[in-house]
Symmetry: C2
Subunit: 528 residues, 2 copies
Amino acid sequence: MPQILGHNFIGGSRSAAGAIVVHSVDASTGENLPYDFYQATVEEVDAAANAAASAYPVYRTLSAERRAQFLDAIAEEIDALDDDFIATVCCETALPTARIQGERGRVTGQMRLFAKVLRRGDFYGARIDLPRPERKPAPRPDLRQYRIGVGPVGVFGASNFPLAFSTAGGDTASALAAGCPVVFKAHSGHMATAELVAEAILRAADKTDMPKGVFNMIYGGGVGEWLVKHPAIQAVGFTGSLKGGRALCNMAAARPQPIPVFAEMSSINPVIVLPQALGLRGERIASELAASIVQGCGQFCTNPGLIIGLSSPTFTEFQKRLAGQINDQPPQTMLNIGTLGSYGRGLKALHAHAGITHLAGSEQQGDQAHPQLFKADVSLLLDGDELLQEEVFGPTSIVVEVADQSQLDQALRSLHGQLTATLLVDGDDLQRFSELTALLEQKVGRILINGYPTGVEVVDSMVHGGPYPATSDARGTSVGTLAIDRYLRPVCFQNYPDSALPDALKNANPLGIQRLVDGVATTSAITA
Amino acid sequence: MPQILGHNFIGGSRSAAGAIVVHSVDASTGENLPYDFYQATVEEVDAAANAAASAYPVYRTLSAERRAQFLDAIAEEIDALDDDFIATVCCETALPTARIQGERGRVTGQMRLFAKVLRRGDFYGARIDLPRPERKPAPRPDLRQYRIGVGPVGVFGASNFPLAFSTAGGDTASALAAGCPVVFKAHSGHMATAELVAEAILRAADKTDMPKGVFNMIYGGGVGEWLVKHPAIQAVGFTGSLKGGRALCNMAAARPQPIPVFAEMSSINPVIVLPQALGLRGERIASELAASIVQGCGQFCTNPGLIIGLSSPTFTEFQKRLAGQINDQPPQTMLNIGTLGSYGRGLKALHAHAGITHLAGSEQQGDQAHPQLFKADVSLLLDGDELLQEEVFGPTSIVVEVADQSQLDQALRSLHGQLTATLLVDGDDLQRFSELTALLEQKVGRILINGYPTGVEVVDSMVHGGPYPATSDARGTSVGTLAIDRYLRPVCFQNYPDSALPDALKNANPLGIQRLVDGVATTSAITA
């Protein structure tokens, strides 16, 4: 069993000023784990935000190379965590060992990828317009632009990825890369995990001589509200429910100084099975789709919650196969009792709806989640029935049968914003349904062909985002290197002497980065 | 006198369904001009937003070259407007002919610059990560990202730049460039100007065969609220008062689907006169600064509203000179009676404040604005007195004397967010006060050395933005080509066949644009 202190992380020290003690739970047994976590007081949240604010002027002006070394060191520390750590994560989340090992690799790979981005230097967005002293009626001045971190960022961890969307996850990595100190609100579902990761981050901060307060973490329920409302916090990253995310957005918008919130919330990730694919490999699709639906007990933001096909005997046959596959899937333990409760309530609402029929799955009862399959009348989609648009978090999905291509298009147009949409195609499906790409582009952040949405790669080109309610701002992504853009803002220098400019904008281009000089992308130095 | 119909512009047609007729005013005489403008009804606002929504799927998928041709054609049409047009703008705004001619050049230059951006193709943000079929445990798919327009944009024109921040101004140009149809709310201060420019845009749309509804314009008071709340509108651009901008932000945040608002609002643009500059050329600075304060009757967002210097006999002398210069400036006619009224009220509040003394300017009375100079005790800045932080729109400025360098830093730290900050330096000023750059970077969008903030160049590297309350989102700029970023969002394609990808992402790179391929910037094609 690892040593867990349970104190808040504030400015490089630990603090337990409060009287409320909260507990972490063994997700499989529901028993409290033998650790005490001290809920942060309002003064501690204030201190954590102020520690981040104090670190900001120092941290943001460190060279990109120094920040990259910090991120690399975090990766190293997390890679070095032992089997006890993995066991702790599995205990708190009921997720299997192999999954958690894989997720750790994703987290450390992500840190290293952001270190690469920092060394590559395109995040600076360096732009230079050279002076035109001869211009009439007035000379044009020297103008240079680069981007800096917006300030301290508040990050909320998600329950379903205790590593990749948590303490050292994508929001933290992108904020730290941008030069923004972080105050992290530990998720109550995996506080021991959070503590071990936060300690790893602080060891890395010590080793690379980062300012105190570059990373802070607070425990407890309801403390996130103080964080979002704190004047030092300049942006918020969140992954979780639509209700929770929207509440944070509303708080942030009502502040004396409104701040941006990047909330990744609710998505039902439609999968459209087109006729040729269905005819040629319906059986395989049924079994792959069932696997995607129950993967990680359906606790993925990109879980396929809606399966759409065109009415035909083959599609009828496919639904039977898929129902059979779902009936064959064993129940699984969810992340926590709250999640299981929500799943049960979500299923109840589906069962109770007159336009929805139950296709597969044994009765939901006991400590585990039983995979389910439903079918909804297409009218529910066309009429914008809220029940069909809302994510039921867990191993369940809903089939919708459309009459023809025109009704398919109409049904897709009725969809709210989504993280992903998937087209399963073969032969000339994509040509015949060529309108779908443009249509889905307007609805989602990522369109997949012949894959399943539950895999999210951490690369430059990933978009884990999309129109509301998938996220609160379709212009961001919370996975992939573009995530850093959410926490950067441009600053322009007019007629600055070269010596006083940041390195990214100096004539000699000492960082060797690509810059837009008089409208042309170049890595060359500027010669006077 | 030009022909003015006064009907709303909806989907390529004109509409005057309402009963409320509003009038445009001769800014110099206060007399109504002989034009009737029909305030848009709620149905007309709905129709305008729906027309933009109908145009969106077509317009956004036009090639960048086609959109560039449209922008070029708009520039051509506006350049071709005759002297009657210039006379109309001057009549509605009381701005001098040369200024309006210059502003027209800025507007058409801006349109052409965005056309260049479209042809350059970096706005696509194209990123490609090639597949790794050999990767274990699972192969990595092919992933490609580019950016598309967010959807129809609502734009609110400002009073102070009847061309450059209005109908065909920076917000409209950047939205159209991004592929977003526009619904423009004409400013009530220059509706005839707005009509003539809107007609020019529609002629350009016809000539370049753009979809109906690519540009729409509505007249009237209070109609903007319907626009911001309309479900088809996906983003808002605004330039104006803090009160007006914040109200739009609040409306947008409270929608069922919240949308981003880019409001450029209130800035007092501090000018810091450092000792060596003061000693070497105090007299010249006083006269240049006075000219900047009264330029365009002080009706610039970047008007220098705060002048800070270090206590010394030279600075005392400088204040006298500046006061003398301000006393020499003639009164000028403001944009409209409302603006003059606000100016008078702003001055009254300054006169009434115990910590503020009047240094120069004849009593504010009559139809014109009299330039003024005040002095505030530094404690007002240090204590965050709201009066000092709020822009008084017009030809006035406030001097603040700080005791020493440490008090200067403290005073600047107390400032709210600003569009600009200016350092007037000479000799070793910048070395001696080397902390100022980093400090001001955290407060403003643009820092100038030895210039005056009232000139805003339209170039790639301009930032006309800054932390709240200068704008509602420091990550945007409303001048310069980066403005297009506000209206773009990323979309990712996974395992798409080459033929179905957008041109920007095809292997052959048919657009010849720069792309980030496996983390390396390149214009090369991808060979299989």
